[in-house]
């Protein structure tokens, strides 16, 4: 039954998003073409005021790419990178759908509760 519900919402069981994954997807959506690992981390830190380990960002980005929720391409190397390229991420259609579904589900669960103030 869980599987049916998930497929009805276009989000497979293995597409279920963790909280940090959702944050990363939202950060990618915000940064658009500038969405490489460190700006994504900075965006999450700035908006949530949480400490985020560099390794957590890389590993989560990798996982989201494997799930097909993010796509990645290499950009030209900037200054002070030792000639090494950076990697830019963008949402795929599945990633966009999964992000929307997660946000909608959270809103539905939150509706009528006064646990958190409206932002």
């Amino acid at each position: 039954m869980t599987k049916d519900l998930a497929s009805a919402n276009n989000v497979g069981i293995d597409m279920a998003l963790g909280e940090f994954e959702l944050m990363v997807l939202l950060a990618v959506a915000r940064l658009e073409e500038a969405a490489s690992a460190m700006p994504i981390r900075d965006e999450i830190v700035r908006r949530t005021d949480r400490a985020v380990a560099r390794g957590a960002i890389y590993v989560t980005l990798d996982r989201l790419v494997r799930k097909g929720l993010l796509r990645a391409h290499q950009a030209e190397a900037g200054p002070n990178r030792g000639g090494r390229p950076s990697r830019i991420y963008g949402l795929t259609a599945s990633g966009l759908a999964a992000t929307r579904e997660s946000i909608i589900a959270l809103r539905k669960m939150q509706r009528g509760l006064s646990l958190a103030p409206d932002l």
Binding site: S36, R54, Y58, V59, R81, P85
Partner: protein, 302 residues
């Protein structure tokens, strides 16, 4: 040092993100160096490299189906077992060789262990082992000594004339049928002289052991049984004083040997001891199949 930590990252981080990760670190390294100097930047780099490598190693471990903690030990063992059985079925010749090799190996190991256990771990008696000997005979035509070629008369002669042996006892290993109540079983017995237990310095487990007073022609039919036989055949009664039937002849059990004592035949644990005097019908004095054990005189200076 920086190159060392870069190499660490190169080992752990997947190839498709390695360059971008190293590039990000390089960029941050420059910023840190400008803010706090090279040493601070190097410390930062080392810390980040170790942390990053650990994170990737953990992630890789979790994703590996063979070692993932999500698979229980039982699942992994069952997978290995099934794989082994499939391989054996595909190669029956190899399976036969493997099973045979294992069987022979186990049998040899058990035999060697039994020998080592009997010789090294279960001392025959409390007397000095280097004073205990077995006698053998050798003829002009034979190359090796025979240890089962004595008669009872040989024993009597040697006992009376020997200057170097303090005591001597004949031992004849004899299979007998033991009957206790309705149950019967075949056991090994040693037919001995009254000197046997005193010579070996065996202490009794229960009751008493056999001595010279039990060894004369027409002696009362009494026996000492092993601790194992007492537990196996007389567990429901007091063994000392019980009557057992050995090959159709009733014997009274006068004692139980201590648990660690099983006779003088290595690898053939004995369950009953009878004196020559009480073993008529089981032992003939003219048989030349008796083994003689003896204790040498102590030659060490006092």
């Amino acid at each position: 040092m920086k190159a060392l930590f870069s190499a660490l990252i190169g080992l752990v981080v997947p190839a498709w993100v390695r360059e971008s990760v190293l590039g990000d670190l390089e960029e941050e390294f420059h910023r840190t160096e400008q803010r706090g100097g090279r040493r601070a930047a190097l410390r930062w780099y080392a810390r980040e490299a170790v942390s990053l490598s650990a994170r990737y190693a953990i992630e890789r471990w979790h994703r590996n189906p063979d070692v993932s903690p999500q698979r229980s030990l039982k699942d992994r063992l069952m997978t290995d077992l099934k794989q082994a059985l499939r391989n054996l079925r595909r190669s029956p010749g190899f399976a036969i060789v493997a099973v045979t090799t294992l069987a022979v190996g186990i049998a040899v190991t058990l035999s060697v262990y039994a020998l080592i256990d009997a010789v090294l771990f279960r001392p025959l008696s409390s007397v000095e082992p280097d004073r205990l000997v077995r006698l053998g005979t050798r003829t002009a035509s034979s190359q090796s000594a025979s240890r089962f070629a004595f008669s009872y008369s040989d024993y009597v002669d040697l006992r009376s004339r020997s200057q170097t042996l303090t005591s001597i006892t004949p031992t004849a290993l004899t299979p007998l049928v033991l009957r206790v109540g309705e149950s019967t079983s075949e056991i090994l017995s040693e037919i001995i002289s009254g000197d046997y237990f005193p010579m070996l310095h065996v202490t009794t487990g229960q009751g008493r052991l056999l001595g010279p007073s039990d060894d004369y022609p027409g002696a009362a039919p009494v026996a000492v049984i092993s601790h194992r036989a007492a537990q196996r055949h007389l567990a429901d009664r007091e063994p000392v004083g019980a009557t057992i039937v050995l090959s159709s002849r009733p014997f009274t059990v006068v004692g139980v040997a201590p648990p660690e004592f099983g006779g003088t035949f290595i690898g053939a644990p004995v369950d009953a001891w009878l004196t020559v005097g009480s073993a008529d019908g089981f032992f003939r004095r003219d048989w030349r199949t008796t083994r003689l054990s003896a204790c040498c005189r102590d030659s060490r200076p006092a």
